[in-house]
Symmetry: C2
DNA sequence: TATTGTTATACTCTATAACTATA
DNA sequence: TATAGTTATAGAGTATAACAATA
């Protein structure tokens, strides 16, 4: 961790600038290089969360994805309409709902994983071993960063 | 580089999934944690590019930021209206224009760099030395990735 | 009274299509 | 005929505000 009590170094600031710029640009690319044309990036991200968490309430999903509750309402409704999630009443709190992914979603995720290999291949061609390793090492840190605070 | 000629390994695919999800989520956070409320992420990114490249044509900027030419027209117009860039005729080709950042933009970037330290500080509190190092190592690779192909 | 989720609405950003001017 | 940039328009995704139901 950089010594921020006395101000960040120029190199730290530069790294953050670079990181931010790259994340924004990469985000725009990813938006277009969807493996599944019928799902938005956030919808995919929600399915990914449900695949690991099992199930969650709309409020929990909104906090995880860093969107506002009304946005998650819409996203969950779209996923439900596509048959990818199931909405059930919360067992303990009748205000809340429980969102679970369907078997169809699992099948779809497996399929999209195969499709992703093509994009991965073109990606990897432009990176050497070392760069690839750096990317893999940073992936979990980026995930942590996205969830911090 | 992973052995993609015979298909990517599960670990490679998992890394890409994780990366994509993190980039999307982080991108949404960055959208809201703007250091300058009056500039969109892409506007900031364009200024960052101009700060390093010196000057560029709208077409070049569109390709770098991965937006379509009409979008860059709008972005450049907004930056010009804010007095942050100057538009001049291209010396050799009268179809093109040259976009250059103003002194005001440099002042603003310096100011925003100071503001960014606050966000950097809260960020760094949640990361240890090792994680921070991984992030710094990956930043240039992410930039490369954003520009590939 | 606070919290969960929804409805209604508006905004921001970007894209596509069609156009103008220049090469 | 091709290219750089613009104008006009539409769409996707998200936010805010106001509301209903439950805690």
């Amino acid at each position: 961790m950089p010594d921020l009590s006395h101000g960040a170094t120029d190199a730290d600031v530069a790294a953050v600038n670079s990181l931010r710029s790259a994340v924004m640009r990469l985000g725009r690319r990813l938006k277009h290089q969807r493996v599944d044309e019928t799902l938005s990036p956030t919808e995919m991200s929600v399915l990914g969360t449900l695949a690991t968490c099992g199930s969650a309430t709309p409020g929990e999903l909104a906090r995880k994805e860093h969107v506002q509750p009304p946005s998650m309402t819409r996203i969950v409704a779209l996923l439900e309409a596509k048959g990818l999630v199931r909405l059930e009443p919360h067992p303990a709190d009748r205000r809340q709902k429980v969102v679970t992914q369907t078997e169809q979603a699992e099948t779809m995720l497996e399929e999209s994983r195969r499709k992703r290999n093509a994009w991965l291949a073109t990606l990897a061609e432009g990176l050497d071993d070392e760069e690839w390793a750096k990317l893999r090492a940073a992936a979990p840190v980026l995930e942590k960063l996205a969830h911090l605070q």
